[in-house]
């Protein structure tokens, strides 16, 4: 267990484990931040702030149940994201706190081939295309789309799911089920 190894090591001695913990959970915190803060930069700030708290607490033995570290990270993400929303406060302590770290991890979301995405999107049936545009660009909820499509909200969610699977299958070359 990574968290247990960090908690039982001398402060700063488990750098490999800390880096691995970051590698595993930073993308999830970033997704949480993007979903709730609706801003990529704010989401990245959230990742940094959560990991400052997490590593400090692990090093000082402040995490009671290291077996449920995912739950602790989510709780910390919720608390800090609420704080960010309320105050728009940004802390920039990561570099200071981890200046001695030899392992640096810069997580990147896997990029997609833009031209292929466009070709695939433009080759989808018009309803699928419009559904994805309304969902991911106009940020319309299923209930809003349902009223314009004259369909039930549940049917929109199913259709959107299928449209996304078709698009991704086309982009990645995988078969869709």
């Amino acid at each position: 267990m990574l968290a247990a190894a960090i908690a039982s090591a001398a402060p700063g001695a488990a750098q490999e484990e800390e880096a691995e913990l970051y590698r595993r959970f930073a993308p999830r915190v970033r997704l949480y931040g993007r979903r709730h803060l609706r801003d990529a930069a704010a989401a990245q700030d959230l990742v940094q702030e959560v990991f400052i708290v997490l590593i400090e607490r692990l090093r000082s033995g402040g995490v009671r149940n290291v077996e449920a570290i995912g739950s602790f990270i989510l709780g910390t993400s919720r608390t800090i994201a609420a704080d960010v929303r309320r105050t728009h406060h940004r802390r920039e302590r990561l570099t200071e706190t981890f200046a001695d770290r030899t392992i640096s991890v810069t997580p990147m979301e896997r990029p997609l081939d833009k031209a292929r995405v466009e070709n695939c999107l433009n080759s989808l049936p018009p309803r699928d295309r419009a559904l994805l545009v309304l969902t991911f660009y106009a940020e319309k909820k299923a209930a809003d789309i349902a009223s314009t499509f004259e369909m039930a909200s549940g049917a929109i969610r199913v259709a959107r799911h299928r449209a996304l699977v078709r698009l991704r299958a086309c982009v990645t070359g995988e078969s869709s089920r």
Binding site: S71, I73, L74, V117, L121, T135, T148, R157, L164, R168
Partner: protein
């Protein structure tokens, strides 16, 4: 992203609904708790986010041909996309051209499109040459208007020609033309 559930039994559809903000708070928190425990679902959610971003980028980059709504059109304008709009009346031709700073061309087609089972939008060039066909387009701007967006870069490649946008629909087994809209495409212009 191809399976319906992760190995722990959580449905993939929930992740998409979560990302699209279509779950109530209780269900959203349940999905979040699962994602922080399940690497497989974390990866799937990242996949969804990546594809969602790619779709938004393509639209924002004016590279998607689609029927759109005024909501989408307004957001495009807010995002700095330079939109040129033409509103040909049924049965007429109006002059149109693509200027160097145009990003997106929107055709605003008016007519009574209500009561049809399947609407088809066809773009034809001179002498009936079919340039595109979109079958079963959704009416997302009400029953009396269709907004269709085309990338300016795509249209810029077309030579000067007469273009016809033809909207047809089915009532029962019978397909009929509802409206035919003409554009005298002057090609790519320069200032």
């Amino acid at each position: 992203m191809t399976g319906e559930r992760c190995s722990r039994g959580a449905p993939f559809g929930d992740l998409l609904d979560y990302w699209a903000d279509d779950l109530d708070q209780h269900d959203a928190e349940r999905v979040e708790a699962h994602v922080f425990e399940c690497a497989e679902c974390a990866n799937r959610l990242a996949d969804i986010a990546t594809v969602a971003d790619a779709v938004a980028d393509a639209v924002r980059g004016a590279r998607v041909q689609s029927v759109i709504s005024d909501t989408v059109l307004n957001k495009l304008s807010r995002d700095g996309v330079r939109v040129r709009t033409y509103a040909p009346e049924p049965g007429t031709f109006i002059p149109c051209a693509i200027w160097p700073d145009d990003d997106l061309i929107v055709s605003r087609l008016r007519g009574d499109f209500s009561g049809y089972d399947e609407l088809t939008l066809v773009l034809k060039g001179d002498e009936g040459l079919e340039l595109s066909r979109n079958v079963d387009i959704p009416l997302i701007s009400g029953t009396h208007e269709i907004l269709t967006a085309t990338s300016a870069s795509h249209l810029r490649r077309l030579p000067s020609m007469r273009l016809r946008l033809i909207v047809s629909g089915k009532r029962g087994d019978i397909e009929q033309v509802i409206g035919e809209y003409g554009l005298e495409h002057g090609g790519a212009m320069s200032r």
